[in-house]
Each structure stands twice: as C-alpha cells, then as structure tokens.
C-alpha cells in the first residue's frame, strides 16, 4: 500500500474531506505520534486510501471512510508486527503468538503500542509499509499487560458462629418484630408509657 494524495486529486474545497483529514490526524496524534512530518505523511496516506474507497462507496461520509482505513492500516500493521514470524535476517525477536481475532488484535496492538511507546520512539516506522526494525518488533511483542496472576480458586466458607442464648433470642425477637409490625408498635407504645411512668415516679 503506497497511496498518496496527488495535488490534482486533493479534495481541497470539500469541507467533509477537510474534516476527515483532521479527524485522522487527531486520531493518530491520540496514539502519541507527535512528529509533525510523520503525522502529516501518515494522515495523507490514510486519507488517500479513503479517497480511493469513496469511489466505491459514494454515500459513505469521508470521516467514516477515513477512520475505517486508519483501522485497516493499523490492523494490517499490528498483524505484521505481532503475528508474522520474524524475518530470517532480522535480529532475534520473541516468537509470535497464534493469530488473534482482528478486534482483539486491535486491543492488544494498542496496548503494545502504549507499553513500548512506539509512536514516540519510532515515529518513522509507526504504521509504515516497510518492515519494522527488529527492536521495534521485539519491544511490541514483549509488551504485555498482566492484571493478575492465574487464578487458583480456594473455597472460603463463612465461619460457623453461635451467637449465644441472649443474641439468639434478640435475633429471633428482631425477626418477629420485623414480620409483625403491629407487635413492634405495641411494644414501642408500652416502652413510651413505661418511660412516662418512670419520669412520674422519679420526679416525685
């Protein structure tokens, strides 16, 4: 893939393509690609692919086409970096794992990018057509995110606890009062009357 926008093809007067270009640039910038030249070249390349695709899908908005192409370029690059066996002449790199579903590969690729800092360290090679340097491949393949070690489940059953006679009685009473609110209210009234009686007696 080596598509680039030629001056005659550039849809300079179409705000929709201007928006698409900006969106792709923003998306690549969000990946940490800060070097202006690399950013502009890569954006041009992706928008050119989208421009070519527009002829086949005239009704699709340019932004949608452009981001779809950006995804495709990334997916292709992730597959090459993370899943293809290393070239015989290349420096040793960790063995490639089995091929993953494209969506999962996208997630894994983005994490590998984040962990190895590829867009900042190798801006020229990020999403480039030519084979990436072995060091980049090694860094990407070595990058992983481990949220926890393998789980080894253990049973942890609640301890038996006999609360004792008093607490058991209190618990049963509690439950009864909850089930029979009228009894609870009657007891509350009785307690209130008893309090008044106590006050009467205590203040004599």
């Amino acid at each position: 893939m080596s598509a680039t926008l030629s001056p005659t093809e550039l849809p300079l007067d179409d705000p929709a393509w201007e928006a698409a270009w900006q969106r792709v640039e923003s998306y690549l910038h969000a990946h940490g690609l800060e070097q202006r030249l690399a950013l502009v070249r890569l954006t041009d390349r992706i928008v050119a692919r989208a421009w070519a695709a527009a002829a086949r899908e005239p009704g699709t908005p340019p932004v949608t086409l452009a981001l779809r192409e950006a995804d495709a370029v990334m997916a292709d690059w992730f597959a090459r970096v993370l899943e293809q066996p290393p070239a015989a002449t290349a420096a040793p790199a960790p063995a490639a794992p089995p091929a993953a579903h494209p969506r999962r590969l996208s997630v894994r690729g983005r994490i590998a990018l984040a962990m190895s800092g590829v867009p900042a360290r190798w801006p020229r090679h990020f999403l480039a057509d030519e084979p990436p340097p072995a060091e980049l491949v090694a860094a990407m393949r070595a990058a992983y995110l481990e949220a926890g070690p393998p789980v080894e489940f253990t049973n942890m059953a609640a301890s038996e606890l006999e609360l004792g006679v008093l607490a058991d009685a209190a618990g049963q009473t509690w439950e009864k009062l909850r089930r029979w609110p009228l009894v609870g209210a009657a007891l509350g009234w009785a307690a209130f009357v008893a309090l008044l009686a106590f006050l009467f007696y205590a203040t004599r």
């Binding site: 997630v107 984040a114 253990t154 509690w174």
Partner: protein
C-alpha cells in the same frame, strides 16, 4: 545516660534483647497482667465513685442521682482504663520495655538471610484519589526494592470504586506505574463488578482467587504507606513466630496539612507510645486487628475468618461492616495468635483533613462497632476478644453516655434551684474530712481532670527520658506550647464529636442511616461554609439553648458548663479554622504540632512528598466534561480504551467477538450516548456500557468515525478539546 536512652521517642526502648518465640509463649503471665490492669482501673475508679455517691448522699439520694452516679461510674471507669494503659506503658518503658513484645523475637537490625515467604501486599481502594494512591504505591515499591527483597512480594490494587471517573483513572494510573517501575507481573490491578460485602468481601475475593499463591498478605489502606524494611520485618516476624496469625503494626499519622489533621497526628505521635505499650501489656497474643498496616497468615485466615452474617438487617444486623475486630476474634478462637507490633517503625497512615470528614468516617465505624454487640456472647470467643469488641462499642457509646450524664447533671441543678431548698445535712465521709459541698465537688472535678491529663504528663516524661527527645517535636518550648494548643483544641472538639456520635448511635438504633449534605470542597480540600453550616447548625442551636437554660438556672453552673458548650456553639468556625490548610501551614511555620516524621521524615515519606510535588499535576478536565471524564477517556483515548477493554477480560473474548447485531442489546444505549451525550443516560446505563467490552470497542470506533454533525454537541466539544490536548505520552497517571 546510656546509649539507648538517646534513641528517638517512639523507637524501641532499651533492653531490646531478643526472646525466643517459645519463650514469648511461656512468658505469658496473661491472667496476672489482666488482673493487675483491672485492679488499677478499680483502684482509680472506686474512690471517685465513692466520693460522687457521698456527694449525692449529702443532698438526699434519689433515682435521678442513682442514674447520675451510674453514668459517672461508667464514664470514669472508661477514662481510668485509658489512664491505666498510659501508667503501665510508661512504667514498662521506664524499666527498659516489656519482655513480651513480638518485635523482640527478632534482633534489632537482624540480617535477612533465609528466603521470605511469598507475600501479597493488598491495597483495597474505593473511590480514593488515584494520583495519591499510586504515589504511595510507588514509594512503597521503591522502598521495598531498595531492601533487595522485592522478589518475595507482589502488589495487588483491589478496587471497589463505583465512580466511573475514579475507576478509569485507577486503570490508567496503574498501567503508567507498571510502565514506570517495570513492574509487569508484580503489580496487579483488579476491580470487582459487584462490591459484595464491601472491603471484607474485597479481601475475601482476593483470598479466594490468589490466596493459595501466597503465604502472607500485608493489608494496606488506600492512605497507608510502609517502608520496605517494615514490610520485610513483618514477614520475618511471621516466619519466626509460626503460631502468629496476624501481626498488627501501629501506624503513625502523617502528611496532615490542616490544623485538624496535624492535631490528630501530633497527639497520636506524642501520647501513642505509652498507650500502646500499656495495650500490649494486657493483650499479649490476643491483640486486635485494625484492618490495615498488618500482616495476615493467609491459610488460617481463609479457613477461619470468613465472616458470617448477623441476624436482622443493616444497620444493626446483616453483613458485618467492621470486619477487622471480628477477624481477629475468629483467628484467636482458632488458636492463632494476634500481636500488636509496638515499636516496629515504618508504618504510616493519614488522617481525615477536617472535623466533618472525621465524623463521616466515625459514622461508618460506629455502625460497624455497634453491630458487634451481637457477638459479645458468641460461643468460643476468647475473653480478650470479647473485651476488644466491648471497648469498640463503648468507644462510641461513651458519647451518648457523656451527653446523658451532662443532661442529668443539668436536671439535678435545675431541680435543686427550682425547689429553692437548702442542703439537708446528712452523715457522710466528707463531713469526717471536713469538706464543704463545693470542696468535695471540686475535688471530684480535679480528680477527673487529673485522670484525663495524666497520660499527657506521662507522655511528656517519656519524651524527657531521652536526651534530645523533644528536639524532633521542635524543642521543649514548642512542644509545651503544642501540648497546650492540642489540649485546648481537644476540649473544643470533643463535645462536637460527642453530639455527632450521639446522633449516629440514636439513628443506628432506630435503623436509619445518617444523611449528609453533598460534599463541597475548596480547591485544597477545605470544607466550605455551606457544608459546615448545614452540618453543625443543629449542634450550635442545641448548645445555645442548653447554655441559655443553664444561665437561667444558675450563672455558676453555666460557667461550669461553658467549656462543654463552647465547641458545639462555635462548631462552624471551629470546623472551618481547623480544616483550613493555610492555617495548617502557619502552624507548621511556627513550629507548632510538629512530629518527628515532619522534622526528620523517613526516606519513604520524603520520596512520597517529593513525587507528589514534582510529578506534573493532572490537567483537571474542563467543567463541562468533569462529570463524565472517565467515560470520555475510556471511549475516546485509544490507549485508555484498550486498557479498559483488556481489563474487562472475563467477558472480553465473548463480547468482543460477538458479531450478531440482533443480540447487541446495548446498541440503543450507545446510539443515545453518541447522539445525545452522557447526560441522556442514567448512571446505571453509563455503568452498564462501561462494563460491556463490545460496547466500549464499538463506542470508540463510532465516536471517531462518525461525522461531527451526527455527534452530540457534548462529544463534538469533547473531541475538539481532546484534539488540542491529546496526551503527549501514551498513558499518563491521571
């Protein structure tokens, strides 16, 4: 003065020769120690209660006075119990330290040669500030790495955060820290989808998943910091004492910036060591567990410490909230020892910054401790465990008892004034001693004050035992001034807490929670006027009415009562003044309320402060995005989105590969979110989307690939903002 006496206060007292674990076990004159402590409490309480009874007898005894006397006896015995801790602790430290301390099973500075048991350092978090949480983890990790023993430890951040903003911040901060420290495979993160049983459930979840991989777990709170040496030493203690189930350290309060936090940390630092020595004296191997900054032997913990449910429903029944006390009790019941590692340096925690936040924390603890009344009579618990549970209950129940005591006192004075009767002379001890009624009352008052102030005096004497002991507190002049300031502030704050606790107890007993006004904070965490007024208005009105009534009864009585009423009456300015960081800085500059951790900060704290000061502060989200900035980042940022998706790993594979649109039940929600903005969804709907891996992947694509005119204005603006300020580094700590 010998060399040991030049040690800084709070460090291991002299006479720290080692003791074999078996000898430590044999040396338990447990009953004798407890009988002595109980006798001392009785010796202090008995005469005071006698004098009070005698005082009431002189004016004619009745039911109200009986109630007054009973309340006085209960409260005085609690104060005496505290004083006995200080007295015994001081005497022990004066005599070279207690023989029976678990730290003495290791020689000071003993080299670690044998491999340590595999240990998990677990930090449960719940909506705490991730920047602070991960800064502490960084400092702990580095300190541990410096010991050369990192290989025996793994870190687990166990999140129960329910706020999506916090949740996403935690994930990105975790990845950033793993990258920074090169801690892949050593620093882990897990967030539970359902917060069953809160913190206890979070720890149990860890034990069920990964408990088998580790021999010990060191439990930290989100505000805990520990030195690598302390962590290694804790593991060594467990290895040396195979019957120890839990070893609890005594965390020192640090990093307080407001006057309130600095008061707390100064008081705990100065008065703590003598109290803790006294506590260890009677607890021995049946100490308590405070839930953090402690090491736990995992196998017996899994076997014996899973919490049962209590009868009834919350707030009084149901799931046990204050799990730590119960876990210690269950561990002891199973025959394991629980020790308080007094004199083990390097354990720190932080304190709420202001009175309102402190009361909020107490609200949770109070409800949990009151639940423990179910367990007081539970079969098989050790007597010491029952006492811990009881003291935990009384720690909060003392407040309504104190309030009741003061109210009954007011009633007695009013009744006396209203009747206009003179005293009826009756035979009493005071007659024999030729004490007037007023002199007897004053004697009682002086005795109570003496008991309250004696621990402070003993703590100062303990400092004086060491050459230059006051220097870490700023020198004697500043230390003296700080003690006076702390005493005055405590006198004002204690009655406010009394009213808080009384309200909490009442509401808990009525089965109701306590409603709080929305927390509104100043830029640096200070409470604002609105929150302070709404929180304290009732207390101030109550104090004003009480004061006016006391004044109407008798001016002298009102004067006696005024120290108690002053705090609640001026609670609003008190909360604002003591919660103000500028005031805290002024105190620090004046050299008041200094602690050794401030004047000579340990490396781990110095590094933590440096990191927090030097690391770039996260750019706060613009006001219009602040409410949903977690969702914004998880949906827009390619890296945050990828990390989020990979952490939803349990359902990730299934959801992410799903292609059947007819089964995509979240599609309408996503469309609503993209075309109408996050406010169009309920919090539950937003959470559902965040928990659905397929939705988050599609959302990321949808937002980036949809033309601007088909996006909600909120998203358009968010993308414009994001485009301008996209992260310079792939992932940053928030």
């Amino acid at each position: 003065m010998n060399a040991a006496s030049a040690a800084p206060p709070g460090s291991a007292p002299p006479g720290s020769a080692t003791i074999a674990p078996e000898a430590l076990g044999r040396a338990w004159p447990r009953l004798g120690r407890r009988l002595l402590a109980a006798t001392l409490v009785l010796v202090l309480t008995g005469p005071a209660v006698f004098l009070m009874a005698d005082l009431h007898w002189r004016t004619g005894f009745d039911l109200w006075k009986g109630l007054h006397l009973a309340l006085f006896a209960a409260l005085f015995s609690l104060v005496a119990f505290g004083t006995v801790h200080a007295l015994v602790g001081f005497a022990l430290r004066l005599g070279g330290g207690d023989r029976c301390r678990i730290v003495r099973t290791l020689a000071p500075g003993e080299e670690v040669t044998a491999p340590l048991g595999p240990t998990a350092i677990v930090m449960p978090v719940f909506n705490e500030d991730p920047a602070q949480v991960f800064a502490r983890l960084r400092a702990i990790f580095r300190s541990l790495a410096a010991t050369g023993k990192l290989e025996f430890f793994h870190f687990y951040v166990l999140s129960d955060s329910s706020d999506p903003n916090r949740w996403i911040e935690e994930q990105t901060a975790w990845v950033a820290l793993v990258q920074e420290l090169g801690a892949q495979g050593r620093l882990f993160y897990r967030r539970r989808r359902v917060n069953t049983n809160k913190k206890a459930g979070n720890l149990a979840d860890f034990c069920r998943r990964w408990g088998r991989r580790h021999r010990y777990m060191i439990v930290l709170d989100a505000d805990s910091t520990m030195t690598g040496d302390a962590l290694v030493r804790l593991v060594q203690l467990m290895e040396r004492n195979p019957r120890a189930g839990i070893v609890q350290t005594v965390p020192r309060l640090v990093r307080g910036t407001t006057p309130f936090a600095r008061l707390q940390q100064f008081a705990s630092r100065l008065y703590g060591p003598v109290f803790q020595a006294g506590l260890n004296y009677w607890q021995l191997g049946e100490a308590n567990y405070w839930g953090h900054n402690a090491i736990v032997r995992i196998a017996p913990f899994i076997e014996h410490c899973s919490l049962p449910e209590l009868p009834g429903r919350e707030p009084f029944g149901g799931r046990i909230l204050s799990h730590d006390y119960v876990e210690a009790a269950l561990m002891c019941r199973a025959g394991w020892q629980v020790w308080l590692a007094v004199d083990l340096d390097g354990s720190f925690e932080e304190c709420p910054a202001n009175l309102i936040d402190f009361a909020k924390r107490d609200r949770r603890w109070l409800q949990g401790n009151l639940q423990h009344s179910w367990l007081l009579t539970a079969r098989g618990l050790r007597p010491a465990s029952r006492l811990h549970l009881l003291m935990g209950i009384l720690a909060y129940l003392a407040s309504p008892l104190w309030l009741a005591f003061l109210l009954v006192s007011t009633l007695l004075v009013w009744r006396h004034a209203a009747t206009g009767l003179t005293l009826v002379p009756q035979d009493s001890l005071a007659d024999l001693l030729n004490l007037s009624f007023q002199a007897q009352a004053l004697l009682l008052f002086a005795g109570t004050l003496g008991l309250l102030f004696l621990p402070k005096l003993l703590a100062l004497l303990d400092v004086a035992r060491h050459r230059g002991g006051a220097r870490p507190f700023g020198g004697w002049a500043r230390l003296g001034a700080s003690v006076v300031l702390e005493t005055l502030a405590s006198a004002l704050l204690a009655p406010v807490l009394m009213l808080f606790h009384s309200k909490f107890v009442l509401r808990t007993l009525l089965g109701r929670g306590v409603a709080w006004v929305t927390q509104r904070r100043g830029g640096d965490g200070d409470p604002d006027w609105r929150e302070a007024i709404l929180t304290h208005a009732g207390q101030s009105l109550f104090a004003a009415a009480w004061g006016a009534f006391a004044l109407w009864i008798d001016r002298t009585f009102a004067a006696w009562l005024s120290p108690v009423l002053a705090g609640p009456l001026f609670a609003v300015p008190l909360t604002l003044a003591t919660g103000d960081t500028a005031n805290g800085r002024r105190l620090r500059r004046a050299g008041l309320l200094l602690t050794p951790e401030e004047t000579h900060p340990p490396a781990v704290l110095a590094e933590l402060e440096h990191d927090i000061a030097v690391l770039p502060a996260p750019r706060p989200p613009r006001a219009e995005f602040a409410a949903h900035h977690g969702l914004l980042r998880a949906a827009l940022d390619p890296y945050v989105n990828a990390v989020h998706l990979s952490l939803l790993r349990e359902k990730f594979g299934r959801e992410i590969d799903a292609v059947d649109p007819s089964r995509d039940r979240f599609a309408p929600l996503r469309e609503k979110l993209v075309s109408a903005g996050p406010d169009a969804l309920t919090p539950a709907e937003r959470r559902s989307l965040l928990l659905d891996a397929g939705s988050m992947l599609r959302l990321h694509r949808e937002l980036w690939s949809r033309p601007a005119e088909r996006l909600a204005p909120w998203w358009r603006e968010a993308m414009r903002d994001y485009q301008l300020l996209a992260p310079a580094r792939p992932l940053r700590a928030p």
